[in-house]
Amino acid sequence: MLQKLVTRNNITIQGTGSKSMFLVHGYGCDQNMWRFITPQFKEDYRIILIDLVGSGKSDENAYDYDKYSSLEGYADDIIEICDALNTKDVCFVGHSVSAMIGTLAAIKKPTLFKKLIMIGPSPRYINDSDYFGGFSQNDIDDLMETIDSNYLGWSSAMAPVIMGNAERPELAAELEQSFCQNNPEIAKHFAKVTFQGDNRIDLKKLTTDTLVIQSKEDAIASVKVGQYVHENIANSKLAIVETTGHCPHLSGPNQTIEAMKKYLI
Amino acid sequence: MIKKNPLICIIDDDKIHQFMLTRIINQNKLAEGIITFSDGEEALQYLTENQATKEMIPDVIFLDNNMPIMDGWQFIEEYASIKTEIKKKIVIYMLSSSVDPVDIERASTITEIYDYIVKPIQLEAIEKIFKKLETLL
């Protein structure tokens, strides 16, 4: 059972520690995103890293379009993995859309996480009557086109050749080194689910102790959005870090680590 | 030439029909005598036992085709094989209550059968037969 999950979500476990830290990447990439963060927590935590189904080196065959047409599908996976690993005292770290995934999981099973850290969260990306998500439907359509036209070495004809082709080991090596390579069809579907979703009401249902880490300049999840998230979660703190871009854990790892450590004492 | 009346044999399991045919023949004094059998096997036995005695062998047989134990067709088959031993010509009429053209056709192909008659046989028909017999025997 556990082996099935390990294959499905490419679960990797590092570090020693009685407490667990469960880090989940957001839209677009995979668990490699955390490589500048994890070394700092290895000593005190058992670190659990996964690739969401459809991303990274997860089992593409497990991508069920019906199941993953809502973030609940991913939330169920999170709960399943925690149960299988028999985790206790978990700190969940979710970037971007995974912050919402963690929220849904925590609502479903309140005892699941002791603490929840959100990096660059957004409960809804598309603007609403008096809500500024930052984007219009047109912008999301534009994103879809961009995803479509970027194969990043992934063409439907090439992929089977690349995947496990013994005669062309250099291709496989290329793949190993290329990050954020996701099947464009699945990427588009995941993008739709992420950027067209609305989890604003779920924020109010969250009871877990939460930290929102907000990048000072983030075009995707602006400070306004970060504030909105903090205001709608009862038990939460907001930490604005001096970084630019939507991935402070990549572009400003030190600041991010500092904010995390401060919260986790 | 003294016209002698023929010896008749009726092979039919239908007792009523046996009775009636016998009555017609006797009433009109057409036969020297009448021997009756209820099935082909009995008749065949009689012929075999008496094959040497000409007087015991009938001149005419009225044979019903539908009888238990051994029916008319089977009788003819067996008769054909002992015919030469009997040393007397027997005119065989096949009687049947069936107008099945298959049966009529079948009868016409068998040399031993002189004619095929549908029951019930009328007096006129019987008289005609006996008249014919005078020329045959």
């Binding site: 534009d142 961009t146 970027n150 995707i220 | 009523i16 029909h17 009636m20």
Partner: protein, 397 residues
């Protein structure tokens, strides 16, 4: 020969657009081509514009979520397709290659990017995509049509099978009809023709005594006719009763009941009767039929037992190919199948000079068996014995 190469000049006049940005995205240098492509003056860009300023919002999401992490993690990235926004707001498609420039300690100093205008390529790409999609649609349509054809073919096959079944049904009905006609013409005509002859006699000039005698003969014929008619009607009823209720039957129970009914005959004949229904102890079958079949077969075996030896009769059930067989075996007189085989199941046919033999049993038995979809066959040797094999229930798919 020494070539004096001015690298700065080369950089500036390169046919691809270059620009250099800080880790936070601010553009700190660019070449002429880049400015030409984006329609900006140098002072409007250097130090003023960010990489993301040249992207649409949708592109920005892609930039933040895929381009930036990938570049950060592997140090270089190639062939990213963006739509760059010119000064006047119009867009043009580009391919971007970027590389991180780091110092000795590995600190990220600049990002070097090269931009290629792929407007023509993009047009071609879109045409190809349209053609690809059309082909896909066509292929899907063909698959649909194929599916439709296959399902039609299946339907036709199904209908063909149904027709064949119906045909067989009609053939069987036809056989029943012609057998009925045959029976009617043989078995009814005889008594009727007798009645006609008797009537003719009756109307002749005969005395009262003769008339009385004739009339008693008429009575006999009428009885015979009545019996035959009843059997015929009964058989037609059985053949017509396709929906007869099937009851749960236990063979041992039925057999014991039959033994009780034939108690006296069994005692008299001193027959040894055995049974073994263990292979198929039960069946769902019309109760009336199965009792009649067993009674008929057993009474026949008793009636036609060979004098001079002890009658041994055995009834059993067997299962072959999902079919339940009832087998009745005796060591009696046997039947000459060559002589009588074709008449065995006819109406009113007998094969033994036996006071009791009337022959109606097997005709009715066969009718009953066949009306339920079964079959009866016989093996026999004269003076050795007879075995009846009845397939009670055919394998139904």
């Amino acid at each position: 020969m020494n070539y004096k190469i001015d690298y700065k000049e080369l950089y500036n006049t390169s046919p691809s657009g270059y620009f250099c940005s800080l880790p936070n995205g601010t553009i700190v240098d660019s070449n002429k081509k880049f400015l030409e492509l984006t329609n900006y003056a140098r002072e409007e860009v250097i130090g003023k514009k960010n990489f993301t300023d040249f992207l649409s919002l949708g592109g920005k999401i892609y930039f933040e979520n895929v381009y930036t992490p990938a570049l950060k993690l592997s140090g270089t990235i190639e062939e990213i397709n963006f739509n760059f926004v010119k000064k006047d707001g119009t867009t043009f498609p580009v391919l971007v290659n970027s590389v991180e420039v780091k110092d000795m300690e590995g600190i990220h100093l600049f990002t070097q990017s090269a931009v290629f205008n792929i407007s023509q390529r993009k047009k071609y790409e879109q045409e190809l995509l349209i053609a690809k999609n059309k082909a896909k649609d066509l292929s899907n349509q063909l698959q649909e049509v194929n599916k439709e054809l296959l399902s039609r073919a299946e339907l036709i096959l199904k209908q063909k099978l149904e027709l064949e079944e119906f045909n067989q049904h009609l053939e069987s009905k036809n056989r029943q009809l012609s057998s009925f006609a045959h029976i009617a013409s043989h078995n009814l005509r005889a008594p009727v023709s007798n009645l006609v002859a008797l009537k003719n006699f009756y109307n002749e000039d005969i005395g009262l005594e003769d008339k009385a005698m004739l009339f008693s003969k008429v009575e006999l014929v009428i009885e015979h006719l009545n019996e035959t008619l009843n059997e015929l009607i009964e058989s037609v009823k059985i053949q017509g009763n396709k929906d007869i209720i099937h009851d749960p039957i236990n063979f041992d129970v039925v057999f014991d009941k039959t033994l009780a009914i034939l108690d006296t005959q069994i005692l008299i004949s001193k027959a040894v009767i055995t049974s073994n229904f263990s292979e198929a102890p039960t069946i769902t079958y019309p109760k009336l039929y199965i009792e009649s079949i067993v009674l008929n077969l057993l009474s026949n075996s008793l009636r036609y037992s060979a004098p001079g030896r002890i009658a041994r009769i055995h009834f059993c059930t067997e299962v072959h190919n999902n079919e339940i067989l009832l087998i009745a075996k005796d060591n009696g007189l046997g039947i000459d199948l060559k002589k009588h085989g074709h008449k065995l199941f006819g109406l009113n046919n007998t094969f033994h000079r036996h006071p009791d033999s009337k022959g109606v049993g097997l005709f009715m038995t066969k009718t009953q068996i066949e009306s339920v979809g079964g079959k009866i066959t016989v093996e026999s040797e004269v003076n050795k014995g007879t075995t009846f094999k009845i397939i009670l229930k055919k394998n139904r798919k």
